[in-house]
């Protein structure tokens, strides 16, 4: 029995199998089979990345690997680098795009606005409406719905409204709602930003 084991790791992109150098290929297949069988449903449908870091697989070994993996409903995907490819959305995380969508109307309950850039609304955002964008959100009216600024990960995004009364406010991956005790209505324009790891709302002074 070989002392070595091939390392099978799961991550959000799929399953990655690392095969140590010098390991007997039959042993690899047998270990793989055991591992996959033990949690079949869990792995089902996952993409499998094989990284034989210290050795290259022979074509027939690749084929055998593919067949084994298919028995469990998985498929081999060729990795482009040693790492699984990073999702495209993370590029430009901290940059602000200049693309801005201007909406000259009230956004009603049930309407959802998604935009890659900033969103400006000349009107209200009613409860039940959602604005999701990668940049800033400016509502020149009452914001009463859900606003998600910086949705691709930009924590410097901000949300501004003449009357900031959202059901929920989200910036990047921070979520916040107003406290359960009834607050007095906002007196003027307010700006929400992430500060010290929490979304903070300040009165807006131009």
């Amino acid at each position: 029995m070989s002392k070595e084991a091939c390392i099978i790791k799961g991550n959000k992109h799929g399953l990655s199998i690392s095969i140590p150098r010098g390991m007997d290929f039959a042993e690899v297949l047998s270990q793989l089979r055991t591992r996959l069988a033990s949690a079949q449903e869990f792995f089902a449908g996952a993409a499998v990345y094989v990284s034989a870091a210290d050795r290259d697989l022979e074509p027939e070994e690749k084929q055998q690997l593919a067949k084994t993996v298919e028995e469990f409903g998985l498929s081999i995907t060729e990795p482009e680098a040693d790492e699984a490819p990073a999702p495209a959305v993370e590029s430009g995380k901290d940059e602000f795009k200049e693309d801005t969508l201007l909406l000259r109307r009230t956004i009603r309950s049930g309407q959802k606005i998604r935009y890659d850039g900033n969103v400006v609304v000349l009107g209200d955002v009613n409860p039940g409406a959602e604005i999701i964008c990668s940049g800033d959100i400016l509502v020149l009216g009452s914001l009463r719905g859900v606003a998600h600024a910086g949705c691709t990960g930009n924590v410097n995004a901000s949300v501004f409204a003449f009357r900031l009364e959202p059901t929920q406010l989200r910036i990047a991956n921070y979520i916040s709602r107003s406290p359960d005790e009834k607050l007095p209505k906002p007196l003027g324009p307010e700006l929400a930003r992430v500060c010290d790891n929490v979304i903070q709302i300040t009165a807006y002074q131009s």
Partner: protein, 266 residues
């Protein structure tokens, strides 16, 4: 060529059918030729509220499927010769008709009547889509409750998407005592969110339950407050400028306090 108006709300139970019956009867009362259409297939109520349920022979689905002519299905009202009802089917479902068929039917009715009022079912699915097909105007009925306003807002959004712009609002079942106590939304709060023109306000009135059970619309009762509210709505639809019923009246003390400057906005 007449006008077709759809009476809708989103939320159920806010008073669409009652409103349709009362506005229709009110318009007939002042001499207009009116046709009421019940678009709530499977859960028909307009015939009951009008007191005409035992006169139904054919219904809307029969017309749309070609079993009879529109004329044969229309039921003349008990009280007015110029008021007719096209009832819904009770034994079918909302997918028995599609928007194109509805639009064709409503257009045909508009040739003969001054007003065609369509009673829309609750919801936003097939029934709603059928009811708004062929409508020129929309009236949104809501009650002064957060959930009803939320649904009304959704409906307004859907109407705008279907190019039915500028719907008008009727606020139903207002309770002035609750508004004074601060337990109920004011009409101003609702217009703030919905941002559409206010057509009328109707107070919560026990006599409505009596009138719907009996099949005698409240608009016919001179002593009924809600009847008066509907009569005002009818006049506004015809173009008259009628002041709204003073339901949310402040009492003298409050008014004095507000004048001096104590206390917040009413």
């Amino acid at each position: 060529m007449g006008k077709s108006i759809v009476i809708t709300s989103g939320k159920g139970g806010v008073g669409k059918t009652t409103t349709t019956a009362n506005i229709g009867t009110g318009l007939a009362q002042i001499g207009r030729k009116v046709c009421l259409v019940d678009a709530d297939i499977g859960l028909r109520n307009l015939d009951v509220v009008m007191g005409l349920e035992n006169r139904i022979v054919y219904d809307l689905i029969d017309v749309v499927e070609g079993h009879c002519r529109v004329r044969s299905a229309l039921i003349k009202d008990k009280r007015f010769d110029n008021l007719f009802l096209l009832p819904a089917a009770q034994t079918r479902e909302k997918d028995a008709v599609n928007p194109e068929q509805m639009e064709k039917l409503i257009t045909e009715l508009k040739q003969e009547f001054d007003y065609v009022l369509v009673d829309c079912p609750a919801g936003i699915e097939q029934g709603f889509k059928n009811a708004i097909a062929g409508a020129d105007l929309a009236i949104i009925v809501t009650t002064p409750e957060v959930s009803a306003v939320r649904d009304a807002d959704r409906i307004i959004g859907l109407l705008e998407a279907d190019e039915l712009f500028e719907p008008q609002l009727i606020v139903n079942r207002i309770r002035p005592d609750m508004i004074r106590r601060g337990d109920m939304m004011t009409t101003d709060d609702m217009i703030d969110i919905l941002a559409i023109k206010l057509l009328g306000i109707v107070p919560d009135d026990e006599s409505i339950i009596v009138s719907t059970n009996k099949g005698e619309p409240a608009v016919l009762d001179k002593k009924s407050v809600s009847g008066q509210a509907f009569r005002n709505i009818v006049r506004r639809l015809e173009g008259a400028s009628v002041p709204f019923l003073a339901l949310e009246e402040e009492n003298m003390v409050k008014r004095l306090m507000r004048f001096i400057g104590i206390g917040g906005k009413s």
